[in-house]
Symmetry: C2
Subunit: 337 residues, 2 copies
Amino acid sequence: MSTIKDIANAVGVSCTTVSNVIHGRAGRVSAETITRINDTIDKLGYVPNMSARSLVSSSSRVIGMISHLTSNTKETIIEDPFHSAFIGSIEKTLRENGYYLMLRAVETTADLSAFLRNWNVDGLFFTGVFQDEFFTTLSELNIPIVLIDSYVSHSNMCNVGLEDYKGGYTATRYLIDQGHSKIAFASPTIKDRGVVSERFLGYKKALDEASIPFRSELVFEQELDTETTIALGRRLAEREDITAVFATADILAAGIMAGIQQSGKSVPSDISVIGFDDINLCRLTSPTLTTIHQDAPFKGKLAVNFLIDLLEKNSINDREVILPIRLIERESVKSIK
Amino acid sequence: MSTIKDIANAVGVSCTTVSNVIHGRAGRVSAETITRINDTIDKLGYVPNMSARSLVSSSSRVIGMISHLTSNTKETIIEDPFHSAFIGSIEKTLRENGYYLMLRAVETTADLSAFLRNWNVDGLFFTGVFQDEFFTTLSELNIPIVLIDSYVSHSNMCNVGLEDYKGGYTATRYLIDQGHSKIAFASPTIKDRGVVSERFLGYKKALDEASIPFRSELVFEQELDTETTIALGRRLAEREDITAVFATADILAAGIMAGIQQSGKSVPSDISVIGFDDINLCRLTSPTLTTIHQDAPFKGKLAVNFLIDLLEKNSINDREVILPIRLIERESVKSIK
DNA sequence: TTGTAGGCGTTATCAG
DNA sequence: CTGATAACGCCTACAA
């Protein structure tokens, strides 16, 4: 547990000099002292005490990845298979830039700001933020924030998003092009100005363009747990007025597909299914799942780069990146032209 | 950003008294002062500066969840769908007990100990530790450590594991009971004294008990990425000397199943498949996947409870918990008796 | 080129 | 019951 003082004593210089060397303020120290100090640092195995640094500098190099717990959401973001896909790439990039990642779930805005002040948190990642009280708190926070998959914007935040509208449109349009017109829409709760609502608007747009009347009874808002999604598949299988389903998440699509199949019907012969995200699962189901692809690890990487630019006060060219989607044709959609 | 000093000034007492109240050392403070201080704390929105606490106490309430990066493992544990399942429950329980969770990937033991000293880390979670140099470092660490899924033990660590041997045995025995004798074993690299090797031993034991000779050409060690697992399924489908496969992970089993099906063969008619873990995916494939169940969130919860007991110096009844497995029969195994 | 000194917010010791 | 005071490790004016 050696400290700067130990190094200073060992070398026979003052703490200031050691500190200067550690921070690369080479101009003020003789070359010889620098090497002697560096050697001693290695020999004694000195590592900085971040608490002490944090205390004196009011910043910590701690980045929070926040998961907003709502009353009906007991799961944290971390458990969601899609989001966990990019947390690894976030940790990696942060680490390579000298930052540390804390995972934290919060229920209230008070929880959040307490957490931030507890640790002098330097920056934040947030996913799926809506235009609500929470967002207001965030916008007053005065630390760099990168929003992922959120349709809100503010001058001191950056956004990494996806062509959700286009994705919804593309999926639906594809089904229409294959001859479908009785197309169900399945998703979690459609909250205003969120990822899902954008995809929903895309769905409606495609219908509209093809002069297919929108029917609200074909919209199914569901939880994403496996039981519920399979049950939905069963219900869908019984209806005569549906030939295709657009599900806004692959796990939902897979559950629906399983439910349909368990009802003795077939995908895509009886009902076609298209998903969203292109997670690994898509290639493991039978039939394989046609879906809208997005690059989750890349999303994570972009988010970190944004945050690091903000933290290091680099100039930001844009405040927002919207990643492209693309259709991946597999086997779960049948042409009925 | 109010501090203890601010509170002290506002109330007209000393920092010491405020600190005493904050830490519930009620005996030394008058009831009236206590309420006045608490009121002011609420009014001013005081939250403790953890860096300052950490600095003076050499402990931080930070718990590290460490992911060991090896040269051939670029992925961090966090990306693994099975492990990410319990990280949420770990964060939750830690938080409820006043701890904070840092995620960190390390390559070397030096990385690890630097990290620990950077933050005065109070405790650690580790998964899949082997009897190697890394373990030696861990055992000299002198902070509470909880090992998950690791077949090494040490006096200052606790273990949360699973009946892996029994799981391997049960899966294989089940296949045998269904009339199979040409049973392949598929897994990631079998490292000595690891989860996989235990399951492998269980597999061999079951074969042995049934007087089925072990054939090393039926052992397939593979990476777990989707491409590779599907390719393995294809290879397996071409062989005449296999009627069943035991895969040590559901994602592997699912990939194999997909590969078999994509080769035009059928599961379970041509080849039976049994997995391990019982993740959600098992109910989404077609046929649904017969597997060995384990309770991942519960594993996480146990691990945290262990760690908290160690941290708070509660007496530990056992240093080790081995969670039970059980067979879940679904549709991917066919009786050929 | 190097050193001194004060302070970041908190806790603990000891004295009143 | 309450209050000074020193210390944790580090940083940064400012001084030499």
